[in-house]
């Protein structure tokens, strides 16, 4: 049975008769609230892979599945406790990763699986309008492990029309120092053609982020949110198998500073236009001390065909300047202090557009009472560097 199947069985065993909407009684027993299953298939292609120094195939596929289950209970002081358990599994294949060691028939990184469980708890005091939460997260794949800890606090205004939220998050990451085969001491790859037999040194990467946001109801149709983040990263911030070719055709791995400070500032607004159309907008300005400045604009317009069916076309525009350390294939000088040919840090614009389709029938999707919502979404992404991708996602909500 798959992980998803096991988890679905688990929450089904906790499931009870849907709780009655009663303000006079709140269960102090742990009860099932909802479960969400999200599955996605992503594919991309392009000709600027960082593994091969800014040239070569960027072909990649990723099949992602995650499930989160929420349980709730009320304590003696009528505070609501929520417990969220989430498990995600990604399986990806990457043509460029196969070039870390092209001598192997199939290197360890050409395909990999990432597993990322997380646990979150929060307690909401409706009388005071406060919520406090904490969470733990883990992620593991062949060459990358991560542990995360997060805390958050929210406070509503007296009239319950505004809410201030503060969040703090720490990620402690460790990555295997896997060099391209020709740069390894002795020039050897996995002796038996299988990199998994190798013992690699490791490098650390730590990320600390703080986030402040304020949401405000403007009137019965409009609400807005302001978000300001501050992120500090420290440690090994490149990837050891990203090649850089210099003007003289010599090769090395990318070299980036061991610190980075990022400041993203965001604004969101949702407006109910008439009876059937909703406008959801998002704008973000981003700057960091590597020289990347970016603007993101996103507009989505859910249209309610009827109370149980909506269609949501969306469009996202993104533009960024290049990092100070980026140069294309064979453009870097040997005297450069830092260097990368990773096109994710180049100057480019991107367009992302598509549509979503969502049904929430009163008797459940396909007549299954507990299957509350089905949402399907497709998007196409193009980047001015030539990279393009497609993604299709399915979200099922069980209540």
């Amino acid at each position: 049975m798959s992980v998803t199947g096991i988890l679905l069985s688990l929450f089904a065993s906790f499931a009870q008769t849907p709780s009655k909407d009663s303000s006079s009684y709140k269960s102090r027993k742990l009860s099932f609230e909802e479960a969400n299953l999200v599955s996605s298939y992503y594919r991309q292609d392009g000709d600027n892979a960082a593994v091969t120094g800014g040239i070569g195939s960027e072909k990649l596929t990723d099949l992602s599945n995650s499930i989160d289950v929420r349980f709730i209970k009320w304590d003696k002081r009528s505070r609501k406790h929520s417990f969220d358990i989430e498990v995600g599994v990604d399986h990806y294949t990457s043509a460029s990763s196969d070039q870390i060691n092209p001598q192997t028939i199939s290197s360890a990184s050409h395909a990999d699986t990432r597993i990322y469980p997380s646990l979150n708890w929060s307690v909401e005091d409706e009388k005071k309008g406060t919520t406090f939460g904490a969470g733990l997260s883990f992620s593991t794949e062949f060459d990358y492990q991560s542990a995360g800890l997060g805390l958050n606090f929210s406070k509503k205004t007296a009239n319950r029309n505004g809410e201030f939220t503060a969040k703090g998050q720490v990620y402690l990451d460790r990555l295997k120092y896997i060099l391209p085969v020709e740069l390894r001491p002795g020039g050897g790859g996995g002796g038996n053609g299988d990199d998994e037999g190798e013992h690699y040194p490791t490098k650390n990467r730590n990320s600390y982020s703080g986030s402040l946001s304020y949401s405000q109801i403007i009137n019965q149709r409009l609400q807005v949110m302001f978000i300001a983040d501050l992120v500090y990263q420290q440690g090994y911030l490149g990837l050891p198998f990203h090649r850089v070719y210099f003007l003289d055709n010599s090769v090395n791995i990318e070299k980036l500073p061991d610190q980075r400070i990022k400041i993203p500032l965001g604004f969101r607004a949702s407006y109910f236009l008439g009876d059937r159309v909703i406008l959801r907008g998002f704008y973000r300005y981003y700057t960091d001390d590597w020289g990347v400045k970016a603007h993101t604009v996103n507009l989505e317009t859910p249209i309610k065909i009827n109370p149980f069916l909506s269609v949501s076309p969306f469009y996202r525009y993104y533009t960024q300047t290049a990092a100070d350390y980026f140069m294309p294939y064979r453009n870097h000088k040997l005297t450069d202090e830092f260097y990368t040919s990773n096109y994710d840090l180049s100057k480019f614009n991107s367009n992302f557009y598509g549509a979503g389709f969502k049904i929430t029938p009163p008797k459940g999707v396909f007549g299954i009472q507990r299957l509350n919502t089905l949402e399907l979404r497709y998007g196409h992404y193009t980047r001015t560097t030539g990279m393009n991708s497609d993604i299709v996602s399915l979200h099922l909500k069980f209540k």
Partner: protein
């Protein structure tokens, strides 16, 4: 040194926009929030956008301010 005027305009107008927004608020009672409570009105990314946000974090230099990851936890930027 590179200069970018757009952020300056944005940053200087940010407090003004915030004040204008807050002063134009009309108090809304709980029973008047039917439209605001619609699931499509949520001020944040939807569950179905989860993987989209991940690949954008990998494929773009910028991240954060959208409720998702701001760095760390994966081999992304």
């Amino acid at each position: 040194m590179k200069k970018n005027k757009i952020p300056g305009i944005f940053l200087s107008s940010f407090p003004l926009t915030l004040m204008l927004v807050l002063f134009s608020c009309t108090p809304v009672k709980e029973y008047q929030k039917s439209m605001l409570n619609d699931s499509e009105m949520v001020l944040g990314a939807k569950k179905v956008e989860k993987t989209e946000m991940s690949f954008q974090t990998y494929r773009e230099g910028a991240s954060g301010a959208n409720g998702g990851k701001t760095g760390g936890g994966c081999g992304c930027n």
